[in-house]
Subunit: 209 residues, 2 copies
């Protein structure tokens, strides 16, 4: 008998540099929260394990998965394709696990369309000036790329209204506990089917009368 | 200029003995949370202050308030009338305060009808057996009253589906932090009007370009 509730699906998005990756790493693996594993056509890097870090696939396999409707969302980044395998996510949810997708806003909107019960969390930078500082500090992007990212950021933020929650990542620790808090609160939402909860008390009443 | 968000209205209900009163006292006064002050026709007890503990009113005044639609909900308990003055609640919300109504389930449903944006939290006992123990331990009710309360409890729990969240009050401290957590998470909900949030970034972009 399954006596757990179905898990919930969370999409965590935000402009590049807002800190969604760090936040996801901090909350994954604990409190019944699992990161979704993406499928990608890019080559494995040293140490990366198939089925743990990514599901590695050829371009042909990837396109086949799209065609069969096996992906909740997908996107092409620098000629490599990345996507979220639907079956893996659903099987985790059915085992009562909460699943987190760290994907961009376009991907989040794709997921919402296919799984309207998904809960979308938008990670915001405290300001564009601070976002620029962070991107510069990373030393991974050229000044041109950074300016391009900043220009995209405002367009992304304009889609905030499609999301369910927003967390301003000012202090990382606070942002992490805010996201955890949202997941905890959502676990206390009255589900559509209240029968399992009420049933516990009904059975007890039946026993004690 | 008002630069705060409007506060949110929380209804906290639960069967007698589930602990809603203790939970409300624990969270009120902090973190921008205020208890609503009820109007009542009962006589003030020593030390009770009009406008702080209750708005004391004559039966005539109370009925007049009902007639004028000034009450969000009301009920008669042991010949005394209790109700929630709408204006006082709305003025607190407009000042950006979160307001808590500690009322029974019927009252909660009345509020939801008049203010559908209210967030309803149901406090559940861990079990009916533990609820009975608690009611006996209080030593305020006769065995007959306790049995009557327990019989009512199941009917109340059956209305759980009308509520938004539920918190099982097993350990008081955990239940208090769960309710606080719900209020924190709700503060991070993307509002219907996202313009004020997006506007901050737009203005900054305008300034930095």
């Amino acid at each position: 008998m399954r006596n757990h509730q179905r898990g919930k699906l969370y999409v965590i998005s935000g402009p590049s540099g807002a800190g969604k990756g760090t936040i996801c790493k901090a909350i994954a693996g604990k409190d019944n929260i699992e990161l979704s594993i993406s499928m990608t056509t890019r080559n494995p890097r040293p140490g990366e394990i198939h089925g743990k870090d990514y599901f590695f696939a050829t371009k042909e396999e990837f396109l086949d998965n799209i065609e069969k409707g096996n992906l909740l969302e997908y996107a092409t980044v620098y000629e490599n394709m990345y996507g979220t395998p639907k079956d893996a996510v659903i099987s985790k949810l059915e085992r009562g696990r909460n699943v987190i997708l760290e994907i961009d806003i376009q991907g989040g909107l794709q997921v919402k369309k296919l799984m309207p019960e998904a809960i979308l969390i938008f990670i915001l930078p405290p300001s564009l000036a601070i976002l620029r500082e962070r991107l510069v500090g990373r030393q991974t992007d050229s000044p041109e790329v950074i300016e391009k990212r900043l220009a995209e950021t405002l367009n992304e933020i304009k889609l905030l209204g499609e999301y369910d929650y927003y967390v301003v990542n000012d202090e990382l620790e606070e942002a992490v506990s805010a996201v955890k808090g949202i997941i905890d609160a959502e676990a206390r939402r009255v589900p559509d089917k209240v029968k399992p909860i009420i049933g516990r008390y009904e059975r007890e009443k039946g026993e004690t009368e």
